[in-house]
Symmetry: C2
Subunit: 310 residues, 2 copies
Amino acid sequence: MTSPATDAQFSALLDATAGEIDRLLDRLLSSTPAEGEIARPARLIEAMRYATLGGGKRLRPLLTIESAALFGVPRERALMAGCALECVHCYSLVHDDLPAMDDDDMRRGKPTAHRKYDEATAILVGDSLLTFAFDLLSHRETHPDAAVRVALVAGLARSAGLGGMAGGQMLDLAAEGRYDATSLTEEQVVTLDTMKTGALIRFACIAGAILGQAPQSAHDALDRYGHALGQAFQIADDLLDIEGDAATLGKSTGKDAAHGKATLAGNLGVQGARERLAALIAQAERALDPFGANAATLRAAAHFVATRRA
Amino acid sequence: MTSPATDAQFSALLDATAGEIDRLLDRLLSSTPAEGEIARPARLIEAMRYATLGGGKRLRPLLTIESAALFGVPRERALMAGCALECVHCYSLVHDDLPAMDDDDMRRGKPTAHRKYDEATAILVGDSLLTFAFDLLSHRETHPDAAVRVALVAGLARSAGLGGMAGGQMLDLAAEGRYDATSLTEEQVVTLDTMKTGALIRFACIAGAILGQAPQSAHDALDRYGHALGQAFQIADDLLDIEGDAATLGKSTGKDAAHGKATLAGNLGVQGARERLAALIAQAERALDPFGANAATLRAAAHFVATRRA
C-alpha cells in the first residue's frame, strides 16, 4: 500500500475537482431552458448561480468522483452525480441561512442568498436547486442504465429528506429549545449529526459504488467509510465553530454556543470531541482497506476532514 | 362515444379518488422510518401530514390515474405516482403561503402550515415533501421498469423546477412589482400561468402515458389535453379569486387584486377570461378524441375545471 497523498497534494486535487464542478455547473445552470422547460426566469437562474458557483470546497462531489474511480466509472458521469450532490448541499445552505432558520448573513465570504436577493427568492433558489438535483440524476449523461439512475434518485431522496438531512435540520432547531426545553443526550446528538450532515456525505460515497455497479462488499465498505466520515465532518465543523477564524471560514463563528445548538463538543468537551474525531477518522480509513492503494485519495480526504482549518 | 359523466358523477368519483390518495399518503407518511432513513422526527412528520392529509381535491392524482387507466395501468401504480404529484402540489402551497411569499393565513379551511407550526417548520415541510415525491417515484411499487420510473423523475423535475412551477412562482412575485415596475403583456401572463400552474397539471396527464408506456401519439394527445387544462385551471382560479366565496374556497379571495398579481382576467377582463376559459376547455376535450368513450372521465374533469365553485 502506498502512503496517502500529502495534505498539500490533496488540497491541489480538491481545488482542481472544484474547478471541474464549477465549469459543469456553469454549463448546466445556463439561462437557456432545457427540453421540457418553458423558460428560466432571469432573477431565479442568476440567484441559483450565485448560490452555487464560485465558492465551496466541493468535498461531496470529490467523494463521489473518487469512489466512482475505484470502479473505473467514466469521470464525466461521476461529475454529473457530483453536481447533483452539490446542488442539494447548496440548497440546504440557502434554506438553513434563512431568517426563520439559522439567520446567517455571510456564507463563503459573501452575503447569503436572502441578503443578496430577498427571502422569497432564496426560498425559490433552494426549492429549484433541490429539484434540479433530481433532474441531473435522471439524465442519460449521468449513466446510460436507467436502473443506476433510479438507484441514485432513491438514495439521494432518502439521504436528503425527512429521514436524513431535512429531518436533521428539524432536530437541530428543536435542540435549540424552540419547541421544547431540551438537553440532548450524546446518543441524540449523534443521531442529529448523522442525519443533518452525515447522510449526504455518506450518500456521496455510496453514489460512486452505485455508478460503478460495484459488488455488495465494496458498496458496504464505502458505506462504512462514508458513515464515519460524515460524523467526523460534523465534529470538525463544531470544533471550527469554537476555535476557528471567521475570516478564514468565510462565515461567522461562535454561533453554536450563541444559538444553544446541540453539538458533540458540548456533550464531550473539546478534548473529548477531538478524541472522537480521531477515532472516526481511523474507522473511516480502516473501511478503505479492501481497496488498498487505490483508495489513497479517499484516505487523504479523511485526513483533510480531520485537519481542515476552513 | 358515450356522453361524459355528469358533474355530480364526476364529483363523486373525485371524492372517492381523494379518499384513496389520503389512505395511501397516510400509510406512506407514517412515523416509522423507511429503509435507509435514520429517523422521522415527530414534529416534521406531524407537520407534513398536516399539510397533505384531509383536504385538497386531489385533481392532479385523478388526472394521472385516469390517464393511466387508458392504457390499463394497474391502479396501485398510478396511485403511487399520484401521491408523488400531490406531495409536490402540497409543498408548493406550503412554501407559497409563507410570509416572504404570498403571506397567507388560511388554506383548505384551516391555518396554513407556518401559522399552525412556525416558518422554519413550514420551510422544512415543503423541502421534505418535494424530496419525498422523488422518493415515491423511485419505488418499485410505482413501476417495475426502472426506465419508466426514471422517466417519471425526469418529467416531474422539469415540470416542478426552475423552468416550470418554481420558475412560475418567481415570475409571479416579479409581476407583483417587487423587483421591477412591471405590467405584463398577455403573452407574459400566459407564460407565467403555464409555468406556475400549468406545468404540474400537464405532467399529471403525461405521467399516465409514461406509466402506460403509451405510443407517442397517445402521449402527445395527453400532452395537448394537459396543456390546455392547466391553463384553463389557472384562469378558473383567477375568476374564483374575483367572484368566489371565501368560505366555500377555504382560503381568502380578492388577493390577486390586492397584491397586484398578474392574471389573464386582468388583461382580458372577466368576460374575456371566461371566453378564453371556454376555448381552452374545448381544446382540451378535442385532444381526447383519439381515446373515444374511454376518456369520458377526463372530459368530465375538463368540465369540472371550467365550472368548479371551490
